[in-house]
Amino acid sequence: MTLPTRTKRRRTTTGPLVLLLALPGLLFLLLPILAVVPMSFTAGQVVEFPPEEWGLAAYRALFADPRWGQAIVFSLKVSAVAVVLSVVAAGFAAIGLSRLHMRGEALVTAVILAPLAMPVVVLALGTFQFFIQIQINGTLAGIALAHAVLGVPYVFLTVRAALSKLDMALVRSAMSLGAGTLDVLRWVYLPAILPALLSGALLVFVVSFDEVVVSLFLSGPGALTLPVKLLTEVQFNLSPTIMAVSALLLAVVVFAVVLGIVMFGVRRTVYRIAIKE
């Protein structure tokens, strides 16, 4: 409990100066993104900043067109499945690796973390080829599976960090009191890694929900995620509706980050988003 006070003190001494230096950079990066919000509230048909006339026409058009709604629902489904798959797979992988002490541990870890380092286009192309072979290209399952692969390293890393702090004497004392393998998972491992699983899940959701490269390769008729739909619309039909979609996406991400801060505190959330980028 002494750690937070110490970090707080450090922040107050260097904080103002850092903020002053970082502010121009922050504005430069943030303003173009934030400009999307006023641009979506135009009454006209043209994308402009600032809008000549304000209105909700873009949002009306967005909700009138069922294809946007479908894309949003599809994206949510994909992300939800990807979250579940990657949390389960990475959770078990991290626990298994921490307990086995096996010879090829470093190699297995490298394979699990590979999606972080691999060029996404290459990953997307390989997955695309493979999914055509096994005939799941252009399906929800296919895209979700590929997103899960992208998400596994995040969950794996957060869970592994939590496990490194787990006292093995807890496992031993549970076993000595009569706990079997499942009981040990339920009563020792799960409580210890639950926060890591939740924050990992949040990360995977953010990664999956705005993923565009893999989704573009694997998309098909009826299997179009929101970012892919957005990209194709931008190419062929740049309208205020796109700004409205962007503003909504922005709202979702802000919501996720705020949720993260409420659940896990500012420092850890910022840190996790930073390692993601």
């Binding site: 031993r172 076993m175 000595s176 009191l177």
Partner: protein, 379 residues
Amino acid sequence: MADHLQSKALVATRRSPSSERDIVVTGLGKHYGAVQVLHDVSFTLRDGEFLTLLGPSGSGKTTSLGVIAGFVEPDQGDVQVAGKSIVSLPPRERNLGIVFQNYALFPHLTVSENVEFGLRMRKVPAAQRSLRSRRMLERVGLAEFAERTPAQLSGGQQQRVALARALIIDPTALLLDEPLGALDRRLRQQVELELKAIQRETGVAVLHVTHDQEEAMVMSDRLAVMRAGRIEQIDTPANVYKYPSTRFVADFLGEANLLDVLVEQSDGRLARVTYADGSCGSVHVAATRGAGGGRQGTVCIRPERLRLALASGSLHNPIEGTLISCLHLGASFRCTVKALGQELVVTLADQAEIVLPEPGEQVWLTWGALDAQLLADES
């Protein structure tokens, strides 16, 4: 000799008539890579007894406990309860209560949920669980802390929760892995007595692992001194202190003056030895040494067993020495005397009439046959 007989009688009365709950350990061997951590370790943890494995780190005491608990698989040897080998059983089927050094309480569960854990694993109904955990918490004096989490308790309280959690499953024996190591000295002395009281009350057999000799002396019915994977000596604390069998035991448990002697003759109980200055005397012989004379040996004399005199007058077989220093330690004096070509330590109880010699003065040392112990040869 009376000590031997008395202590055996004491332990015998505490034992239940059947030895169904005795844990018999025979010939344990274990190596990690090239390092042999256990050599032929054998002992019996008798029902109701408090047995301590005492030794420095790396002596194999924790590994021995691990083998009995089922966390370490031995290369050789067997562990039996009621005549049945338990060495291939998983830990959860051994029914042993274990208290770890850092207590290993489940941090997300309340105190009562921690205590109930073993019963939950045994599918005991909730009503009965909470009744028994409340009773157990009352026994360790923590009834009002039942709904707290472990993090809200002090070290001593956590330790008692760990004890309650281990006792509630009615274990064949309680295994304590340096459970007092994390407590400060004053608290430790209090907990030693509490632990001993609870053990006496419940009658459960305890196997305790520690490197703290004082802890071992205070709590144990018997103690086994371990060194480099072997048991050097196993006996009551008093006997191990009074009649150490090896140089290591003599040094590890308390302070010892070690004298090189020539053994003239020995019947295995008493021996006649010649000291460095040519004087002769009788000494007690370590049980593991055996009879026979005509070879070198080492005699151990505790500092409080040496008697110091200013004149040789009526003394029997006195040894001459020169006083080097005398320190006042409160309850006693600790004097260093140069005699027999080495420095010997003598402790004297502080008394009103005591007359201490000055450094450089000539003094005389004497001791009786039962004050000196001829040690076994080094292996």
